[in-house]
């Protein structure tokens, strides 16, 4: 489904276009030249650890922060010069609940609806409608201080959808939610896109980006370090990681070299002496283990883990950074 408002926009195909966005906070370069290009009608994931610059990027795209360098456009409208137009096209659900704690759920939605220009009658209707579809009707009259984290997040999202904006920013929508609530949130996000909206979501979880996003940008230290479909990214990092703990830590360098040679990929040594390496072809485990035995290296523990965000970074940021980390550790 195509969002009804798209056809009247300046650039209906490109929901977000960011060129060289920069934001400093004092000496800290929170965002350091971010480029993003997001097609309309998709879910786009921005993946990165805490402090990578995800929230700062979203704040600039949603007109809350003025970039120190570069520029960004939402459906072709500049986020600084045409901020008021941009605000008509976006919904923002922040990392921290951006609703009024002192008011009830109904009052929050009613007030936001009124601010968006709905009549009293329409505002009341819209609030009821949203409370129903987000399963909040029972709690509607309670003040928010009595809300659970999941309810608050749902209300927050509901408030972003009053005007049915064609682009929705979700800043870590599931951080801190229990697994069941997380699945509900995922379902809601999929529905949004099915109804024609474009979603930009940030997350710390590779699994979440993998499950939801059509494309992913991996961001670290304020820079986009990789971009592509989940399949492309996973192909670049291997589908899983092989982890080995040696009985004799003295052999670690030999083991490291063997693994590197056999798997043809970089091998990481954790401060606890755990060896880990991306494993593109599970069949290679046998070869690695045989080779280790041939060298007389005994193992304490072997496991194969699905890729984590750490491995994504390790694979992408490469050897140099790993060395640095080792030296620092």
């Amino acid at each position: 489904m195509i969002h009804p408002v798209l056809s009247s926009l300046r650039n209906p195909r490109l929901a977000v276009e960011a060129v060289g966005l920069v934001k400093h906070f004092g000496d800290n370069k929170a965002v350091d030249g971010v480029h993003l290009s997001i097609e309309a009608g998709r879910i786009y994931g921005v993946l990165g650890p805490n402090g990578a610059g995800k929230t700062t990027t979203i704040s600039m795209l949603s007109t809350l922060l003025r970039p120190d360098g570069g520029h960004a456009a939402i459906f072709g409208y500049d986020t600084v010069r045409e901020a008021h137009v941009v605000r008509q096209l976006i919904g923002l659900t922040g990392q921290y609940a951006s609703v009024d704690e002192k008011l009830s759920a109904t009052e929050n939605l009613f007030l936001f609806s009124r601010l968006l220009g709905l009549s009293r009658k329409d505002a009341r209707k819209k609030s009821t409608e949203l409370l129903e579809s987000f399963d909040l009707t029972e709690a509607a009259k309670r003040p928010l201080s009595k809300f659970s984290g999941g309810m608050r997040r749902r209300l927050d999202l509901a408030a972003s959808l009053i005007a049915r904006p064609p682009l929705i920013f979700l800043d870590e929508p599931t951080t801190g939610l229990d697994p069941r609530t997380r699945l509900q949130m995922w379902a809601t996000i999929r529905q949004l896109v099915a109804s024609g909206s474009t979603v930009l979501l940030t997350t710390q979880y590779l699994e979440e980006a993998d499950q939801l996003a059509d494309r992913i940008a991996v961001i670290d230290s304020g820079k986009v370090i990789a971009e592509g479909t989940p399949a492309e990214l996973k192909a670049s990092i291997g589908v899983a990681a092989l982890e080995l703990q040696l009985r004799d830590p003295g052999c670690i360098q030999t083991a490291h070299d063997i693994i590197r040679q056999m798997l043809g990929a970089d091998c990481h040594i954790s401060p606890e002496g755990m060896l880990s390496a991306p494993l593109a072809d599970p069949g290679l485990i046998t070869d690695v283990l045989l080779e280790l035995r041939n060298h007389g290296i005994d193992l304490q523990e072997v496991s194969v883990k699905p890729p984590t965000l750490d491995e994504v970074f390790m694979a992408i940021t490469g050897k140099e950074k790993e060395k640095e980390k080792l030296i620092n550790a």
């Binding site: 008021h84 923002l92 009124r114």
Partner: protein, 266 residues
Amino acid sequence: MEAHNIYTLSRRPTIVQTIRQSLTMAYRGLLKVRYTPEQLVDVTVQPILFTLMFTYLFGGAISGNVHNYLPIIIPGILAQSILTGAVTIGVQLREDMDKGVFDRFRSLPIARIAPLAGALLADTIRYALVTVLTFTMGYIMGYRPEAGIAGVLLVSALVICFAWCVSWIFALAGVTGRSAASVQGISMMILFPLTFLSNAFVPVNTLPSGLKWFVQYNPVSHLVTAIRELLNQNTIGADFWLTIAGGLALLVIFIPLTVRAYMRKA
């Protein structure tokens, strides 16, 4: 779901939209009072308590008896309570701006000024409350102003407008302050000398010369005198016009300062 009129793709909100959005923000302020009625303590308990306390405490010493002191103290309490009421705006603004909900306001296609304008509008209701309560207390204790009901209404209009002008100072403190607590502290530091070092509670001729000088030039003294002349002598004197001029001067200075500081963050 119907498409709403927010997709006008206009470059900026119209005046009518700005006013409507400010009124909605004011309504929000009033809704919050319903959940935290203690927000009204300063404009309800204070006028009642202070009127009783100061009247019976100082009445005999200053005017010989309580009844003769009422025409002096009621205008004084009115001025003091209403200015105390004006302080709250700064603390409220700061609290609001520190919260996540302010980010949402900033991401909405609404006039940037609406949250500030709304807060200032909602406050006039607080000032009205102070005025009604102070006059009611005075009436109960036996105060019958010369000027009658018309004078009382005119004075009410004067103090509410003056408080609104003064609230822009505290709004600036709120917008630029670091935390709600520091805003509260700074505001009280401004407020206490201004209200107590005035002619609100004691006749000026009893004061030592240095203090007398300060009290005579203190704008609060002019406000108090204007109220007294209006209520007790039914006259509009120089102090009335001075107060209005002072209020306007505050607006000329503080509206640009506050709005500029606010817009930088909004």
